[in-house]
Every structure is written in C-alpha cells, then in structure tokens.
Amino acid sequence: MDAEERVAAGAVGIRGAWLVRLLRVLLVQREAALVVFIAIIGAVMTWLTPTFLTVGNLEAVGLGLSSDGVIAIGMTFLLAAGLFDLSVGSVLAFGGITAGFFDVHGIPAALAIVIALLLSGGIGLLNGLLVTKARINCFIETLGMLSILEGIVLLIGGGFGISNLSPAFDVIGQGQVGTVQYPILITIGLAIVGDFLMRKSRLARYAYYVGGNAKAARLTGINVDRVVLFGFFLTALLAGFSGIVETARFGSASVSVGANTPLNVIAEVVIGGAALSGGSGTVLGSLLGVLLLQLILNALNLLGVATYWQPVAAGIVLISAVGFDTLTSRIDFQKLGMRR
C-alpha cells in the first residue's frame, strides 16, 4: 500500500485495509466498476426471471449492443479529443436507406454497401471541415447536420422506408457463425481493433492530447485539424455502417431509426469513463457502458415495463453515472484524504 492508502486504512481499521484497496481500484478504474455493476445486474436478473439467461435473450442483448457499440468506438475517439457528434442517429438512418436504395435499384449488394459507406464517410468529412475550417461549434454543426440528414432520409426513403432487399444484402445482418450472429461478431471484432488502436496508435494519442489542451497540442506539432477531421470521418463512417447492418438485419431500411442514438451513445461513452471536456475514455470502457445500458433496457423489457420507460431509464443511468463520478471524487478528498 502506498502512503495515502495507509492513512485511509488507518482510518477504517486494519481489517478494512483490503477494502480500501478495492474501493480505490473501483473508484479510479472505471472499467472495473462497470464490470461489477454489470455482474450485479446479471445476477439480479437471473434471480428475478428464468428468461434472462437464455440464448435468445442474450442474443437480443448482443444485437442491441452491436448497433450502439460500433458507433461508440468512433464517439470514444471524438470525446477523447473534446468533441462529440449529434448527427450519428441520422447518419445511421442515412447509411441504411442509401444502401437499401441502391440495392433495390439493381446495384449489386456489395457495391451498394460500399457506396453507402463512402457517402457516410463523406458526411463525416463535411462535419469535420465545417468544424475545423469554418470554426463552427461542434454542437451546432452536428445538430444542423442531424436535421438535414433526417430530411434527406425521408426524401430517399419516402414515408415507409425501403424493403424487399436482395438476399445477398441480408446476409450481413442475418448470417451467423455457430450461435453467434454476424452483427455481434463484427462489433466485437471492431471493438478489439478499436481498443488496441486507441491505446497504441499515434493518431489516437494525439486525440487525447488535443482533448487535454488543444493549444499545447498544436504547439507540440500535432495537426489538430487533421485529428478532428479524422474523428468525425470515423464516427460517421461507423454510424453509416451500423445503419447498414441494422437494415440487413431487418431486411428493410427504416426512415425512423436512430432518434435516440446520439443521446444513448454519448451517454454510454461517458458512463464508460470519458469526460465531456475531453482527454479521457477507452473503447473498452465505452463498450462496457453500452453493455450496461443495454442490460438495463433488456431488464425493463423482461420485467414487462412499457417501452416508453426506456428513455427515462437511459437518462437516469446517465445522470447517475456522472453524478457518481463527481460525488466520489469529492468524498475521496474530504473524508479519507485520498488523492485521485
């Protein structure tokens, strides 16, 4: 134990020493705390209802996780750089609608998907350019883009969306390896790569610096604009991709998906440990945040709670998570004299 832990241990008595150590790990390592919460929810749900621990239910949770999870990877990068993107929900819908549109108009599925991805990435670049070159505040810019894309999606998809997609298209969303469906595998795969790159790649490291102190980052030679541009590009690309996978899963492109997505994803990434002001956050934490929220929503479903309560739950979880964060940092300092 180091000096601070010793003092705190003295305060709670020798038997409490290991408890102090545990508390410190939990309070400081967000991922550890999340794992504990997830385990608790899992245990409680297993006890409350037999349906929780079934393959079908776990699959449902996994699928719910896969949609937000992919986008959360990009959002982790953006939040690390001190920014965020509110348009991801609309980009998600856009990706699905565009891919579906090209597919039913005779373009081979794979090509349709590639085009939709390129267009989504292009939107991301546009977001990035407006924020870096035109210096538009990212909140305003992505809010505006959200609205623009909403309209475009309706223009392309009409009132009812696009259905009757080719079977080749549906494979991504509906195929599976063993009992695990493609979307889940894709998400896990992207998350593993994403986590590694966030920890180890130079560009990601730059993002953390930019989020920490953009002025100092520029001074050290980091091309801040390039980092920001990449962040928006990546996030929109992943959002479009997520929309495509959703569409493939359901076999049709909906015009109304993604309304809650930006809020949910930002909440999940913040729960996962990212600060809104930038400079922190990991993909692992974000994915755990996604899993936590999805488990809570799943729990509400299983317990027969009306779906209208879901956004309420999401909001409560977000406020609680951030509140927990700030409260524990204050408790640390005053009561136990521990430094973070």
């Binding site: 180890k200 130079r202 001074l219 050290t220 400079g279 004299g337």
Partner: protein, 508 residues
C-alpha cells in the same frame, strides 16, 4: 488592534493533506501599518498558509485572532466579512463586465433591492479607485485594460469591504517595472492608512524595497521573522533554501566558455515583421551561445519567439536554421528541424495539466520516435525517466499527474518536454516565472550546461537580472523593435535603461 499594534495573529498553525505535512506549528503576526513579506520556496507552504488565513482551508491545529478576537472562518465569505482580503496570483476578474461591477462583486446589494444600480456601483468604484488609479474608468470593460491595470482593479475589489489586512500573492509576477513602481506607491499609501499588508514574493529585491518585516517559510515551518533592516539578502536567501546559492554571473563560468561559439549561426532571423507586434527584426544565435532578449512586458518578445517558431505567422522576413530556410507557420516542421519553444505560460499553452509526467515529456517527441503508426510506450517511459533524472525532476513516479507537482517541477517538465526532441536551437520564454529561488538556480545551471553542450539558446525573460547573468550577448527590445545590443557583463540597470526608453542607443 491589540496593545502591541498587532491586527492579525496566527498561532501554531498546522495542516496536512493525507500523508503530506504542509504546515507545522507556524506562528505569524501582522501589525497595523506594516508591509510584512512572506518568502519561501515552492512547496514551503505559503499558498496553504494564505488559504487558511483567507478562509479557503481550515487548519488541523492552531488558532487565529483578529484584533485580539478569535477568528476561525468557515469560508472565504466569512473571512471577507471579518476583514481579511486576498488578491491571488490568478486573476479573479471577469473580463466581459465592467470595472465597477467587478469591484462591487463582493459587496452586498444595498437595501435588499434586487435591481442593480449602475450609478451606485460606479460611485463605489470611483471612491475606491481614487487613491489607487484615478485614470481607470468604472464603466469600462475590464478586458480593455492590460494586466497591470487589471491588477489595480483586483486590489480595489479586495479593498471594497474595507479589510483590516490585505494579502497579495506574487503581485508582480506579470507586470513591468513601471507598473511595479506604481503598485508599490499604492501599497505605501495603504500602509500609511493603517492597513496590514502581507506580501508574498520570490523576488528578494522587492522585499528589500517595500517590506518592513519578512518571514521565511521552509518545508512547512516558520524559519524566522526579522525586520528587513536587520537581515541581508544573502542570509535571507540562505534561510529560504537552507544552503548557499551562486547568484553572481561569475558563478556561471562566463560567456560561451566551454566549446566556444562556432561561426555560422544556428538560428538566423532576417527582417522579420508582424503587423502590430514587431518590425524589422534581425538577429542571430550561434551554437554554444545564449542570446538574451530583454525588455519590458509588452515589448513584443513573446510574439517574436512564437513567430520564429511558427506558432504565429509573420508578415515578412525569413527564419533560417543552420542556413536552411524554415517554412513559416509550421510548428511541426520547426520541431523536426531542431527548433524548440518553451512557452511562457506553462499552464495555458505548455503542459497538459491533467496528464502524467511521462505523457507530457513524450508529447512533442511522439512524431519523432517509434516506428509506424503505433506509439512506443516503453520508449516514452525510458525517455521520461531519463529526463527526470537529468533535470532533477522531483515526482513520485512518471505516471503522476502534472497538476500535482510544484511549479518548479512543472517548469522542469516543460523544459524536458522540449529537450527530448533534441533541438539544436532552443527558445525559452520566461523559464523561471513563478518558481522559487532554489529551482530557479537549478534551471539557470541547466541552461548554462546546455549552452556548454553546444545548444543555441534564445532567452526571453522579464527578469533583468536573469538575462544579464546568463547571456553571452543581450538584445533589448522595446515596442516591437530591437533598440540595443549589449555585451556580456552589462548591468541590469543598463538593460532597463534601454528597455524603458530612458536611454537611446546612438545611431550605428
């Protein structure tokens, strides 16, 4: 006021933060009508002690009295009500509202009305500013005034509640000689009115100029309190640090001693100009040479340094590194070609305060070390460990958050950050601002050692003594132009004479 004229007394003040003892049994008494200086190295406990006096912290042990009555504030507001006012080093003013509104911020609104009266606030402000600086307009925005005059507003704000004691924390940190003289005049006037003033400063010359008594803190303990007339500066410095210091130029081994300045400038600046900041700048720095750029605050030296490095775009002129033209406005290229800039404001533009020592030291080097798109953390660890050792950076570990270190160590990390890029030319801007005597001496020794190893150093500093004692050549800048070139051994007074325009260099 007690019979002995003591208006404020602190007895046996102790305070710890977890395992760290910040203060141990400190006694301090302040009399009416005196300026009581408080000196000590960074980490000695001055800020903690002042925070306790001003109600921002509670002591673990000890007691305080004002005019003989018990004083135990539970908050800064109570301290203000009890008659203790403090002006911190960080500006507490809001730039976007008026002078009068800032000054009256801590005053209760008269009569319980909830509408603010601009006229009443302006009248209050005018009254308070009368003795301080009557040229300040109560209705002007604070942001329209420079740092020195903003400080006068800060003092007026502190005086708004008619305190018994005024505490000033490093008030001369970022103001020039003119403003300092003005400030001292204000303090003397306040002293004659019976106010007790606590003056915290690292600058011993100021202590001798303005203070009546001086107290020294070292490692959280009070070393002693003396009338200023009864202790000489060498002894005072020794009490602060606990060991003798080398403070004379001779101690630094003389100009360009070791390797000898080579011909062919490492850094050459020709006809550099930037509208509104500086014009017609020609200068050269050779390897193994320290060129000091002296001048008053506002002369444009920082802007020049930033323009040379590429943080700002100059309008005209060229910068050459070892003869090769450096593209303007490209900090990344500058770093790659061996030019580094240590900025004057380590908190704002220099360091990543929330990140670890290692992350800070490695930051500019990330683009230079490691292969490919991945970061080599082990290399970064080794780099950080190496420079911590070389510069004597005191930190529990390289993973410690920089914000937790003392000012002197933070400054060393900033310098290490840039040294790690192995530059050939180093521009340092205010390298010892806001750090204590001991760390200052260490950084001076470091700069001299770097020069002896062949580095070309452009030293920008408002500390005239520092410029004069370290430089092999001194350039003086005034209002954006180079007005004089002085040899090593010139006196600080000469520098100030040219910098303030009191003397003009003869043509050619």
């Amino acid at each position: 006021m007690t019979a002995t004229g003591v208006i404020f007394e602190a007895r046996q003040i102790s305070r710890s933060f977890a395992a760290v003892r910040a203060l141990t049994a400190v006694d301090l008494a302040v009399r009416a009508g005196e300026i009581h200086a408080l000196c000590g190295e960074n980490g000695a406990g001055k800020s903690t002690l002042m925070a306790i006096f001003a109600g921002a912290l509670e002591p673990d042990q000890g007691s305080m009295e004002i005019d003989g009555r018990r004083y135990a504030p539970a908050s800064p507001l109570e301290a203000r009500r009890a008659g203790i006012a403090i002006v911190y080093q960080e500006r507490s003013l809001m730039g976007n509202i008026s002078v009068a509104e800032n000054i009256c911020m801590t005053l209760p609104l008269a009569g319980g009305r909830f509408l603010l009266s601009k006229r009443e606030m302006a009248a209050n402000a005018r009254r308070l500013l009368r003795d301080l600086d009557h040229t300040l307009s109560p209705n002007a925005l604070v942001a329209d005034y420079g740092i020195a005059r903003q400080q006068v507003v800060e003092i007026a704000k502190a005086l708004a509640r008619e305190p018994r004691m005024l505490i000033l924390d490093e008030p001369t940190a970022s103001i020039d000689a003119d403003a300092r003289a003005h400030l001292f005049a204000i303090l003397r006037r306040l002293r004659s009115r019976g106010l007790g003033i606590v003056y915290i400063s690292h600058h011993l010359d100021e202590v001798y100029e303005i203070a009546d008594r001086v107290s020294v803190l070292r490692n959280g303990r009070l070393v002693g309190t003396w009338p200023v007339a009864e202790i000489d500066s060498q002894r005072l410095a020794r009490e602060m640090v606990g060991r003798a210091l080398a403070t004379t130029p001779a101690a630094h081994g003389g100009p360009g001693a070791a390797s000898g300045a080579k011909t062919g400038a490492a850094l050459a600046v020709e006809a550099l100009a930037r509208e509104g900041d500086f014009a017609n700048i020609d200068l050269a720095v050779r390897s193994g040479e320290i060129v000091g750029l002296g001048g008053l605050v506002g002369a444009g030296r920082t802007e020049l340094g930033e323009s040379i490095f590429g943080l700002r775009m100059p309008d005209r002129g060229t910068v050459r590194l070892a003869g090769r033209v450096l593209p303007r406005g490209r900090p990344d290229l500058s770093v790659r070609r061996g030019l580094a800039l240590v900025t004057e404001d380590r908190k704002e533009t220099g360091l990543f305060m929330e990140k670890s020592v290692r992350d800070n030291i490695a930051a500019p080097s990330l683009g230079l070390i490691g292969k490919g798109p991945l970061v080599d953390d082990r290399f970064a660890d080794a780099l950080a460990a190496e420079y911590c050792q070389r510069l004597g950076i005191r930190t529990p570990s390289i993973q410690t958050r920089i914000g937790d270190l003392s000012g002197g160590n933070q400054q060393k990390v900033l310098i290490a950050m840039w040294l790690a890029t192995r530059p050939a030319v180093l521009i340092v801007d205010e390298p010892t601002k806001g750090i204590d005597v001991g760390a200052k001496a260490e950084i001076h020794r470091l700069l001299v050692a770097l020069r002896d190893q062949g580095l070309a150093i452009l030293l920008i500093s408002s500390d005239h003594r520092e410029v004069v004692s370290l430089s092999d050549r001194i350039l003086v800048m005034r209002k954006g132009r180079l007005v004089a070139s002085l040899p090593a051994g010139a006196s600080a007074d000469e520098l100030v004479a040219y910098a303030s325009g009191a003397v003009h260099a003869a043509a050619a």
